[in-house]
Symmetry: C5
Subunit: 255 residues, 5 copies
């Protein structure tokens, strides 16, 4: 999957997008840490989880960035020639799955926490969503690292089952809880699920690419850019919307 060569333009594009994700995740975390006291204590857990998610993502993108930088090299003066795979250094895409294993369940915790449901309802939701999310990532991994398209296909399908289950819970079960939320955040929370669907959808689509025989360095560069944008939306933008909801609920509760 990893291309043998990248043009200077392709190299720099991936390079700058990876750096953009670091900055976006790191400073979303910084923003939330500083803004935390402006939220009522009962919503702080949601924001704390959001901080942790963006922090973990920043950590992994630091690693991915460094891995990318040493995995592709050029011998041209001024570094403007073709970049080829370095001797002794592999580009480690596995970091993404490590990241997802930790952050994808936490993204769901973040959403449930900001609803501030009754303890029992919350437990029920988390008890379904968190293991499903972990299972989804764990089942995708063997397919991702396999060179065999059949294996990839089978694990892709297996991983899709918990994915659909999560969507079912979010779009059917969660609806009841949304009705008890203050009126001014109901719309935002409902739309947030679509943003989640849209950004999460990028990952299974990227997973499909090799099955569709889409290869080559261009496809690979698009995939990295796509992952970068999806990660910013699914974590940083998502966190800022959760923060907005928490702020509006804090005002509503104070009334």
């Amino acid at each position: 999957m990893i291309p043998d060569a990248l043009s200077h333009g392709q190299f720099v594009t991936v390079y700058n997008f990876l750096s953009l994700v670091i900055a976006a995740q790191l400073f979303t975390a910084v923003f939330l840490v500083i803004s935390l006291p402006r939220i009522l204590p009962r919503y702080r857990n949601a924001i704390t989880v959001a901080i942790v998610v963006c922090g973990i993502a920043a950590y992994h993108y630091f690693r991915i960035f460094d891995s990318f930088r040493s995995a592709f090299v050029t011998k041209s003066v001024g570094g403007t020639g073709t970049y080829t795979q370095a001797v002794g250094e592999s580009f480690n895409e596995g970091y993404r799955y490590v990241d997802w294993l930790l952050t994808v369940p936490l993204l769901l915790v973040e959403l449930v926490a900001v609803l501030a449901l009754a303890r029992k309802v919350q437990s029920q939701l988390l008890f379904r969503l968190v293991p499903a999310a972990a299972l989804m990532i764990a089942l995708g991994y063997p397919g991702e690292i396999s060179g065999d398209n059949t294996v990839r296909g089978i694990f892709g399908i297996l991983s899709t089952i918990p994915f659909l289950y999560i969507l079912y819970i979010l779009f059917s079960q969660l609806s009841k809880s949304l009705k008890n939320q203050p009126i001014e955040v109901r719309g935002t929370l409902s739309r947030l699920r679509f943003l989640l669907l849209l950004s999460w959808g990028v990952y299974p689509i990227a997973y499909l690419l090799p099955l569709l025989n889409i290869a080559g360095s261009d496809a690979w560069v698009y995939k990295q850019v796509g992952y970068s944008i999806a990660d910013i939306v699914a974590k940083a933008v998502y966190a800022l919307i959760i923060f907005r909801v928490a702020k509006m609920k804090s005002y509503a509760d104070d009334r």
Copy 2:
């Protein structure tokens, strides 16, 4: 655009200016973090955004600094000879556009936030300013990386449209809101827009240089120095003025 060779004096000048920007942005952020509690809660959002902007800038200048340092090398003893482009390393100017994409919209958020307008007026202003700022940067990028002066010219003009629109909003629409500000900050806020105009103006002018056939290592060094000074003014000095306004409004509100 990137010169083939720099004299030791030129190398050191760029080097020291890049380091100066790191120190200025980083410690403006530190100053604001420590000083935040002295501001009334309603103005803290503006300062938090200022902290994030200066933090992002410090992060990018760390990267630009390291990129510069490894992109130019010399073989002279004591490092006092001529510096030429290194093998396998390019100076990455793209970081600047990544930085602007994140920070330029936030600079406008900072300004609107310190005004503490009615929620509706604020939304209207941000809804105009933020997308225009992002569009301005995004349209400038294809021109910047293109080697062709016609492409550069076209995208430069396209990017100037949202730029002028932003200036129009700031100098015409915002004026109404300024009238509702406490008397002691009205002057500062009004002058702040001229500081913004002055520092932001540096970027399109630097963009013009290749169109005017101004090239060579001297022009390039001046451009780097110009960017460095403009970045300090547009972010750190600007943040300190916003902080001053927030402090004066905090006193005024407490009266």
Copy 3:
């Protein structure tokens, strides 16, 4: 014990698990630091110790990760070939014992602190648990670094004595104190001891492997993965359960 060669898959597996532990420990510490004010002052000492434990573990895993990365090298393009031991760099497993010497006693302090017992009972428990824990690690070390299986066996047995003593205290003596805990945490605390038993049990089992003549690179990779998972459970998961207990007791006390 350290394998002469690792396949790319084995190398990447160890690599990713070590990085996973860094992220898990570091961000558990971050989560607890931010959440600390939500706990009543009397339980904050337990959480502070948990933060320190996870922080120390993150520090050591940074070192282990770097040590692993430079200890195995490949000459294949793209880094997908076989990894062999590097010239001049050893993989330093000793970091684990350094880590345990500091963190294992603190894990017991964490547990006793969250119980918030009478000062005298607490002193008695710590006076027994802490030296036993330090002794257990110190006695295991000479066996670990010895190449001789007899030495390994003897020190293994010696180290098991304080291990059993700790378990005896936890499962017999501590039971009396558990009776005085609020009803809603009694179950959690009791189960926590089994989680402790389960995760701590991994270490003496891994210690046994060479005695059972289980060697080879696969066994070694499993050991690293096993250590990684056990370390996450014994420190990060454990800390989060302690935090949960502290939060529930804070609510109970406030009633």
Copy 4:
């Protein structure tokens, strides 16, 4: 000015003094950050500026230290032979002027801020001191980098004019303000100006050395040591005295 060779003893002396300055500045900043809440809000601005000054100095000394370390190399086993200038690396003394440009004006802000004068008197003092300080450094720079002793002399004299003006303000104008300070800090504040004079005086004297034809590696090592000590006194020791004044004034105000 930079010597061609340093003995091992000379190398290590400079090395350890540079590291000493890092530790002194960094941990003075840490001490002040932690101690800040013990000061009344009205004096916190002075201490915040002191934190920023020591932080900026620590940053620059990190850079100077790294620059020194890579600028001098030896080929002796055990590193105990003679150190000569490295290929491709220059020792960057320019960092000092970058540092001064930011910190010297702030040192005067620090002093004025702790006096907590009437807003108008404060503005007048700062309006005179801050530009004079910036001018003093800016005028010294062209002389410092020039190889020509006449140029050095001329800019030295020009830079001395704002220097004398600053001293005049501090020792004549400031005296009136000192009379309104609480009795217990008046002596300290008065003596503080002499400490400032003493430590600031080191810089123009070091500037004179080449004019006096004092050269050679010994003179250079003494200069580095002298700068290091002067920097610790002028920033860290100075900050601690300002802190002491702020603490005593806090007590006095609380009475």
Copy 5:
């Protein structure tokens, strides 16, 4: 003094002890920072000084660790052979004296501060202890770096004079002040002086080794291990006991 060669076991032993000190000092500082609010304001200065001391020690041990790592190298595969002195890198023991110059006086400040004596008595004690401590270190340095045993002996004796003076003040003068301390801490404070004596005593003994003609790599390794343990006791353990005293006095005062 620095051995020409270390066995792999010796190398790893020093390596792990130096890393242990980093972890111990750094996380003692972290623990104290988080725990600071649990102490009454009047004892916070003592703990702040303790934080600074442990922080400075962690900084220096980072440097010593890196210095050690690059000063000894091996050419064996897997790094298990003999380590010899590297070309161009010296092991810098001087960091220890730089550390002591800053931290030894502060350790005495820490002790006096936790007593919370009358301002005058405190000033008198510090006025004696702090200069004596600085003098003791400064006088030891010329002996340490001299290759000549006579010089070493003379400066050792000179340095012992302020050492004995410090002990005299601690064991005779301080006794009066101890009588005014709350009864529950009197014993701890008295024993603390013996812990100080025990750990501080390690340094002059290590200084004596070359005079006793004790040399060789084993002696050197023991010295490094001895320094490491003494540094943990004299700073981290000492800080935790001071913290305990401050906590007990906080309770006593609140009664």
